[in-house]
């Protein structure tokens, strides 16, 4: 087994009264320390299921998930999660949301304040400490969600299409911010997206997934320095390859 996070022959089948849905089938994947791994695939390909197995929100039907060689059985503070819909606590201010993790609260008061201040500065939200989530824009809420996850000092950061519900401008702004944050913290990040460009902008490696059952079709390594130039020929070449793999390579070649 290799990697910080390791998925070993994972299978997940959801049972309902009427049907049995195989969400993912036989996924083996390692994510290295300080690596930015993107899971790219169409809706319903099981990428969120895979992330939920890493997070411990779900149990695999068969196979195992490991963090630093220890099997993952339930959610824990070692794996910070940023959800698609911010999932901030509406009754807490920005300050209290960022400082509400169990690991943060275990520290002395002064240190807690210091951590919250540092994280809010990192995500560019100094001065919004006293606001409530409903007073913030969508992009600002996701910044708080990232700060909340990071403040709790996780080993890895799991992000489930965190920018999917934001407008295009805010999204590319937050992508650049995330690259900066990753550069500063060197966290291991698993980032789920269905947006090809986003995956190529962010990922050190991109795991391309296929639908029903979810499998990993290919892994693209992106050896371009970050932040990346979206107009460079290398960037476009990688984007083209990712698109070809997503849409089913042979078909595309036939059309070409």
């Amino acid at each position: 087994m290799t990697g910080k996070l390791y998925a070993d022959r994972l299978q997940k089948t959801f049972l309902s009264d009427v049907a049995e849905t195989q969400a993912i089938d036989g996924i083996t994947l390692g994510v290295d320390e300080a690596e930015f791994m993107c899971l790219l695939g169409p809706s319903g390909c099981g990428k969120t299921t895979l992330l939920n197995l890493f997070a411990g929100f779900d149990q695999p039907t068969s196979g195992h998930v490991y963090l630093d060689g220890r099997e993952i059985a339930e959610p824990g503070p070692d794996r910070g999660v940023v959800f698609q819909e911010h999932a901030l606590f509406p009754w807490l201010t920005v300050r209290d949301n960022v400082g509400c993790g169990k690991r943060v609260r275990a520290r002395p008061r002064a240190e807690q304040r210091e951590i919250v201040h540092r994280q809010l500065t990192l995500v560019g939200l100094e001065g919004f400490d006293g606001h409530y989530p409903h007073q913030l824009s969508g992009g600002m809420k996701q910044r708080v969600a990232i700060a909340r996850a990071l403040a709790n000092e996780p080993e890895v950061l799991l992000m489930d299409e965190p920018f999917a519900s934001l407008d295009a401008i805010t999204r590319s702004l937050l992508q650049q911010e995330l690259i900066r944050i990753w550069n500063e913290t060197r966290k291991t990040i698993v980032f789920v997206t269905h947006n090809i460009e986003e995956a190529v902008v962010l990922g050190d490696r991109i795991a391309i997934m296929t639908s029903r059952p979810g499998r990993i079709r290919a892994i693209i390594e992106v050896r371009l320095p970050k932040p990346r130039d979206l107009n460079s020929p290398e960037f476009n070449e990688i984007e083209r390859r990712a698109r070809a793999l997503l849409l089913g390579g042979p078909e595309l070649e036939r059309r070409a």
């Binding site: 997070a55 411990g56 929100f57 339930e74 959610p75 824990g76 503070p77 794996r79 910070g80 999660v81 959800f83 819909e85 999932a87 901030l88 606590f89 509406p90 009754w91 807490l92 201010t93 509400c100 993790g101 169990k102 690991r103 409530y132 989530p133 409903h134 909340r148 996850a149 709790n152």
Partner: protein, 285 residues
């Protein structure tokens, strides 16, 4: 040659907006006391019907008579409202004491059992069917047992009011606790909180608060509705008693004064609840 007109679009955007001549009228339209329209119309219609004398004035008194009776019960100035002249505050306090005691008891137990049934599906399945079976029984139907078990004066009345308060509080609390947004529970778990108590304290309680307050407000309303029922036989004070007693000597103006008093005090206690809710749930604008 005229100089080129050169306000840029940005400057144009920042220019002072054109004055609105109708703004004062508009403000009036927004802030006029609309809530007075319906009561004033109702008073007007009532007065017309009263003056038509379709019913004897004793049974359908004019607005003026009711108004004087109400003032007299509060001040005792004319002494025209039997032994209720100037005794309004005594009956208000008697009713309020019963209602609030019953409300605190029934609401407290409702929140408690609702929370328990919301947290545990097993307990919900054990408790809920029995409670739903008791719920349709009218409060009036409990009177004989209430008197038999609790004797006279305040205790049976408080029991009936508590019973009336319990059900809506229980139902709403259970709903709020049970249907907390699962993504918030996940967020708490990934932040390191794992025990049911931690999850309750960090997430479930707060997200259920709006429902709990709704349940308590409905419960408080029902508590006031129960006050007449519960003051029917067991006690000798309160607005409910005043109503029934006035019926015995056919004073419609006094009956209406009693009804109106319940409305006013009930409305005020609901406003207080609303203020408490706003003070607790500061994150809701």
């Amino acid at each position: 040659m005229k100089p080129a007109q050169s306000p840029s679009t940005i400057e144009a955007g920042l220019a002072a907006p054109a004055p609105r001549p109708a703004s004062a009228r508009r403000r009036l339209r927004l802030h006029a006391p609309y809530f007075l329209v319906v009561p004033l119309l109702a008073i007007l219609v009532w007065e017309v019907v009263a003056r038509l004398k379709l019913l004897p004035p004793l049974l359908f008194p004019s607005v003026g008579t009711i108004f004087y009776t109400f003032i007299d019960t509060v001040t005792g100035y004319w002494g025209t409202s039997e032994w209720y002249s100037g005794k309004w505050h005594i009956h208000a306090l008697a009713s309020a004491k019963r209602v609030l005691t019953g409300f605190v008891l029934g609401g407290g137990i409702g929140v408690l059992i609702g929370t328990v049934a919301g947290m545990s599906n097993l307990l919900h399945r054990a408790l809920d069917p029995s409670l739903q079976l008791l719920r349709p029984i009218p409060i009036v139907a409990w009177i004989p047992l209430a008197v038999a078990w609790f004797g006279i004066e305040d205790r049976p009345a408080v029991f009936l009011i508590a019973l009336g308060t319990f059900f809506p509080t229980y139902l709403n609390t259970r709903h709020g606790i049970r249907y907390v947004d699962p993504i918030l529970v996940r967020a708490a778990r990934m932040l390191g909180y794992s025990s049911p108590w931690e999850i309750f304290r960090r997430v479930v309680f707060w997200s259920a608060l709006a429902n709990i307050f709704t349940g308590l407000r409905i419960g408080l309303g029902i508590a006031w509705m129960c006050v007449v029922t519960s003051e029917m036989l067991a006690v000798k004070s309160g607005f409910g008693y005043m109503l029934w007693d006035s019926y015995n000597f056919l004073r419609a103006d006094l009956i209406i004064t009693g009804m109106f008093s319940i409305a006013v005090v009930g409305f005020l206690t609901d406003r207080v609840m609303l203020m408490i809710q706003r003070a607790v749930m500061v994150w809701e604008r």
